[in-house]
Symmetry: C2
Subunit: 314 residues, 2 copies
């Protein structure tokens, strides 16, 4: 699997941003460690999702490319697939709930994607996307449970360790586990003694429970501010990878998430969405006790006005 991350890195060259690594003296003093932030909020479309989408879509055969791809997402993965489709001249169809924010729909359509709505009450998004896949011959590019998507997401951790050297610890947000499992594979390959720890909101702790019990647990629309982690559960591919490669899972409160967004805003001048700050939240609230050299993936920066306003006023 590590070879697939290395191969993904080659594919992404010249297409994805090699995002900067940032540090904070204030934070390092406070937590008594050397913390390196991989800033995927500066990735194209504002989140790591571009990596996986590009790695998957760029490997399609000619006939697959000419037919098009389909996915289900109203978030960063939707924009990533739409942008990659535009770049590689591949038709993209995005299945979104009929209550998706108009701005998210517009952002996706701006890249030339076709948006298909479904009724959140009456059906599930995977079913709608699968029907389109079968009817039109589209290739499905799921948001996380796909080896090429996972390998692509792993390139952020790969770049981080290439740039700063061996890490003792790597903290990664966990939703469906694509970024987490890809990062863990990259970390084990690059820096074998590095412990990869997945971080979830307490309110969406399915992966933590799945990790502890080795049985798949689920959550349903958990009310966490970290909207990128509201995914129901780990996937068929990500769950075994998480069990094999990830060293531990921890959870953080909503207050810890808000504190971390504020710290990044006020002290580091970075706009990071709630799902993106989970690693820092774990460090700041003591859920993870840092050791030595700590990498943190800041996974994305797509936050709307209402959410940021409420966080800044907290």
């Amino acid at each position: 699997m590590f070879e697939q991350v290395l191969a993904a890195k080659e594919r992404l060259k010249g297409y994805a941003n090699v995002t900067p690594v940032m540090t904070s003296r204030t934070l390092n003093r406070r937590v008594k460690a050397d913390v390196y932030f991989k800033c995927e909020n500066f990735q194209r479309i504002g989140a790591f999702k571009f990596r996986g989408a590009f790695n998957a879509i760029s490997q399609l055969s000619k006939s697959q490319s000419s037919c098009g791809v389909v996915t289900f997402s109203s978030g960063n993965h939707a924009q990533a697939v739409a942008l990659v489709g535009q770049m590689l001249n591949v038709k993209t169809v995005i299945v979104m709930p009929n209550n998706a924010p108009a701005t998210k729909r517009a952002a996706t359509e701006e890249y030339g994607a076709t948006v298909v709505e479904y009724d959140l009450e009456k059906t599930i998004r995977e079913a709608v996307a699968t029907a389109l896949e079968i009817e039109h011959g589209y290739t499905m590019i799921p948001p996380f449970d796909h080896p090429d998507v996972i390998a692509g997401q792993g390139t952020a951790a790969l770049e981080l360790i290439e740039e700063v050297g061996d890490l003792d610890m790597l903290l990664v947000p966990c939703g469906g586990g694509g970024l987490l499992s890809g990062s863990a594979v990259a970390a084990k390959g690059m820096s074998p003694n590095c412990r990869t720890i997945g971080i979830e909101p307490e309110l969406a702790d399915d992966a933590t429970r799945s990790f502890r019990t080795k049985k798949l647990h689920r959550v349903k629309n958990p009310p966490t501010i970290a909207d990128g982690t509201r995914t129901a559960s780990l996937g068929k591919i990500t769950f075994p990878l998480v069990l094999e490669y990830v060293d531990d899972m921890k959870t953080v409160s909503e207050d810890a998430i808000i504190d971390a967004v504020q710290f990044l805003f006020y002290r580091m001048k970075l706009v990071v969405e709630p799902s993106g700050v989970l690693g820092l939240a774990a460090l700041m609230c003591g859920a993870v006790i840092p050791e030595g050299r700590v990498g943190i993936i800041l996974s994305g920066g797509n936050i709307d006005s209402a959410t940021m306003t409420s966080i800044l006023r907290s």
Copy 2:
């Protein structure tokens, strides 16, 4: 004067951050130019002011250092002087109005500075600082009108041009003119064909009028959101430098400033204060028509919750 900027760069080595240069494909497409942002919001204390303060204070004689320094500022220069004093073990006294926000006062005191309040209605800050200078033998480190401060501020533009190469145009915010004149000197020295343009809010257009008429104009507490540019006028040293080195001055509306803060927040994931976005505002609103390769100094990122909240809701 250019030699003084080069010397300042050597002095700052290992103390100031060499801040990153960022770009935006979206912006480049929109304005049909290549725009390079020098991100001084990532400088120590969150603004370029660290450069000038360090360059000035690090050149003091032993007896000056052991006696201490004084300045007048409630903003970024106050924090810069306080931090440099802490780093170089020099006593710092900061004169602030009695209505300065508690957070700004606390931030300065955290670095070990002594804050002296004055009554905004009854006296002016320069007079209070000068009295302390005379009484205690402190060395005055003014916020802009000082050759070492100006030379230090010029190092941001120097680094930018060193990193990205020749520029056709450099856009710089203007308050008291320290950053602007230092940047213009650096640009002329590094990239002789580069036109340096100073940008002010329409509501605080004293430097633009001074530049046009070659006579010093003033403003009094202008009600612009760009609080770093509320300075009454250019200084005795900065005014002649602006006349000699700056190619043009332009103004932008409050709405243009708000648009630019929003663009940096949503599209570039950068937290930049209103005074810091003036260059981008000028480009986006058409006050400056871009040519070729354009440098923009994003001068700082210290923005409070109320200001950012009101901008995000606009």
